[in-house]
């Protein structure tokens, strides 16, 4: 193990190197670029024995990744925003063909009102595609989660692609202290990839032909069950990771001071760190505030969420994305899961288009949750230049 001071993008590149990925198709897009630049350096310096394929678009990047994965080798790629949107069509292939591709999405807003800054509106729509989807909080978690991702994705009970999402610029270009594990430990944690099906002339297989209505629905069902089965694998892998490297993340979700909490915020990504500081403040004043860090959007931890929220009076959800003229997608999922719980639920939108989310915003959100301001007429917006409330 060595300690480096690196950005989350570079932490990801180190994880990919340690995972001994063999094929890496790439197309440059801000703020993902640092990942691919460092991987290209590793390969050209002979430090990573892999193929770097500079494709001509993100659509082709995902197509190359699909080809490489169905060819039977460990495959990695990364994207952001417009690039992920361009991949959209191809994202539906790996889940149904059961290809354990790992992709890092560096979250960034989608145009129009174009910008390169942080928002979750690029990855949230892709939760319908069948990819497992995880959100990380800091650079260490970015590195660790890529290693966990391969272990989860390639488990024979799962065999699904996994998208690790990290917050653009807040993590991707910000340096932090990161422990980079040694190769031997990683080799122990992450065995070689053994594909279940692959294209090999010695055993011809028909992979992903046209599927008529007689069979297609069963395939959808199997995919749905595989996503469900991944819940258990995610928890197991987190356990194993903890035993190997000494760090645990809680699997599907992580709680903070929830034991006796009366009200809480559910967040994902970097906002969690800010919220943790606010919870500490509130606790020092004797308030019974808690925090839930949602790590996975798919599989969505419905049972786990019911368990940790059962004694709550009110729960707020922080959304860094928006389903236009509706609620944030995280809130919609949470409300679906807790619809019969009787807890006052509210949606809190902030940080869109790269707008900074400050301690003050989070304090305001907690005070709104504490007052039980359940949303009746829509989501509450924080940090707007002109407050609508």
């Amino acid at each position: 193990m060595v300690v480096k001071v690196i950005s989350a993008d570079h932490a990801v590149a180190w994880a990919v190197r340690l995972a001994k990925v063999e094929v890496i198709p790439a197309f440059p897009i801000t703020p993902q670029t640092l990942i691919m630049e460092l991987l290209a350096e590793f390969i050209n310096d002979g430090e990573l024995d892999a193929e770097f394929i500079a494709a001509e678009s993100e659509h082709s990047v995902m197509s190359v990744a699909i080809g490489a994965s169905v060819g039977g080798v460990r495959t990695f790629t990364a994207s952001s925003s417009q690039g992920l949107a361009l991949m959209h069509e191809m994202l539906y292939v790996p889940p149904q063909v059961r290809l354990p591709i790992v992709m890092v999405n560096v979250n960034r807003s989608l145009g129009a009102a174009a910008g390169i800054w942080l928002e979750h509106n690029d990855s949230m729509p892709e939760r319908e595609s069948g990819w497992l989807q995880c959100y990380v909080e800091d650079n260490q978690e970015a590195l660790d989660m890529v290693l966990q991702a391969y272990r989860i994705a390639e488990d024979e009970r799962v065999m699904l692609p996994l998208m690790v999402c990290l917050d653009g610029f807040v993590l991707s270009h910000t340096v932090e202290r990161v422990e980079v594990p040694g190769q031997e430990e990683v080799d122990y944690f992450l065995p070689r990839f053994r594909p279940c099906v692959t294209l090999d002339p010695s055993e011809p297989q028909l992979i992903n032909p046209i599927v008529p209505p007689d069979y297609a629905m069963e395939m959808r069902y199997q995919l749905d069950r595989a996503i469900d089965a991944s819940r258990r694998v995610i928890a197991e892998v987190d356990e194993l990771f903890g035993r190997t490297f000494g760090r645990r993340y809680g699997g599907l979700l992580q709680t903070y001071k929830m034991e006796d909490a009366e009200y809480a915020l559910l967040s994902l990504g970097t906002v969690t760190t800010t919220a943790r500081a606010v919870v500490d403040e509130l606790r020092s004043r004797g308030e019974k505030a808690g925090l839930i860090k949602l790590r996975f959007m798919r599989p969505f931890p419905e049972k786990e969420l019911k368990e940790v929220t059962k004694d709550l009076r009110s729960l707020g959800v922080f959304d860094r994305s928006l389903s236009m003229n509706g609620f944030g997608p995280v809130f919609t999922e949470v409300r679906g899961a807790l619809s019969s719980s009787g807890i006052a639920l509210s949606d809190h939108i902030g940080g869109l288009g790269g707008r900074d989310v400050t301690l003050e915003h989070i304090r305001e959100i907690y005070s709104d949750i504490a007052l039980g301001k359940a949303v009746q007429d829509g989501a509450n917006w924080y940090g707007l230049r002109r407050r609508r409330k």
Binding site: E22, V23, P25, E51, I53, A54, A55, E56, S57, H59, S60, V61, S63, V64, A65, I66, G67, A68, S69, V70, G71, G72, V73, T75, E89, M90, V93, V97, L199, D200, P201, E203, P204, Q205, L206, I207, N208, P209, I210, V211, P212, Y215
Partner: protein, 325 residues
């Protein structure tokens, strides 16, 4: 296979074993099925096939059946160049040496797939890209593509009162691919079979990015009698609508020269898709062909026309949508 051996190959050298077997759902007389069946015989068992959205993806393999007796994969329409790049990369990593071939249609190559084709050619991927050119989007019901010839009827270039058929000439895809310096590039006709065999064998033997372009007549799309597929494929070459050439090792050469240029009407009159061409449009097409003829054959093959031929019979239609005149 050595150069001299390839030069001697004929139709007799094609193996009998099929890797695109019976049971597929193509129309009788389908040019794509004829081309793929013979190409797969020559490429043999050490082949991995990728088919993008096209007729072939529908009639070649539908779960749980497949006419391909080799590994087969499909994922989308526009990504043939990219997917075969990925499969080949995986094989290289595993130290395996199968031929990775993409079997795309003209829409999936000329139009929506051009970017991925260019990317793969530009990277010099060690793959074989095959374009099965039936000159329109046949899988979705005969819509015009970049490959559709001038004057042809399709459902998106209908014969209207004001505009009659496609108004642009066929896109010169081979020159676009040639500009990428591929390892091998050739045009094929199912009616010139010795030439066909040699070119597929050569493409199989050479390493690097290889591009084969086959003209594949389409019975319902071109509206002709299904027994006439080969006749029409042959006339395409004899009239200059299709030229047989190959390009490799920095040299380009015509591989079959018609003895004399046939008037394009000989080709047009067999096909319902051209049945409503005006005389002026036929002249326009003929002039364009004469220019192409000169570029391809220079003065090696006599081209008496370019003054117009007189049509033996007027171009008229018998009313049957499947028939030419």
């Amino acid at each position: 296979m050595r150069e001299k051996e390839v030069e001697k190959l004929t139709i007799r050298d094609v193996p009998n074993k099929d890797y695109f077997i019976w049971g597929h759902g193509a129309c009788p007389g389908c040019g794509v099925a004829i081309a793929v069946k013979n190409i797969m015989r020559i490429l043999g068992p050490e082949t991995i096939v990728y088919v993008p959205a096209s007729c072939l993806v529908v009639f070649g393999a539908q779960y749980p059946f497949s006419s391909f007796d080799v590994p087969y994969f499909f994922s989308a329409f526009e990504n043939t160049g990219a997917v075969i790049s990925g499969i080949k990369a995986a094989l290289r990593r595993k130290g395996k040496n199968a031929l990775v071939v993409g079997l795309a249609g003209d829409g999936g190559t000329y139009d929506i797939g051009l970017q991925a084709l260019s990317g793969a050619a530009d990277r010099g991927e060690d793959v074989l890209y095959l374009c099965l050119d039936n000159e329109a989007y046949m899988n979705t019901g005969i819509q015009m593509s970049g490959a559709t010839p001038f004057g042809a009827w399709t459902t998106t270039s209908p014969i209207g009162k004001k505009i009659k058929g496609k108004r642009r000439f066929k896109k010169d895809l081979d020159h676009i691919v040639a500009a990428h310096d591929p390892a091998y590039l050739a045009t094929l006709s199912i009616a010139h079979f010795n030439d066909f065999v040699r070119k597929v064998e050569r493409a199989k033997a050479i390493a690097g990015f290889r591009f084969l372009h086959v003209l594949t007549p389409c019975v319902p799309g071109w509206k002709y009698e299904s027994s006439r597929t080969l006749e029409i494929a042959r006339l395409a070459v004899e009239t200059g609508m299709w030229t047989l050439f190959e390009s490799y090792e920095n040299e380009s050469r015509v591989t079959y020269k018609p003895s004399v240029m046939q008037p394009v009407t000989e080709y047009l009159k067999l096909q319902g898709r051209f049945s409503n061409m005006t005389e002026e449009d036929v002249n326009t097409l003929q002039r364009w062909l004469c220019m192409k003829w000169w570029i391809h054959y220079k003065d090696q093959v006599e081209a008496p026309p370019c003054r117009m031929f007189e049509a033996e019979r007027p171009l008229a239609h018998d009313g049957d949508p499947l028939h030419g005149v």
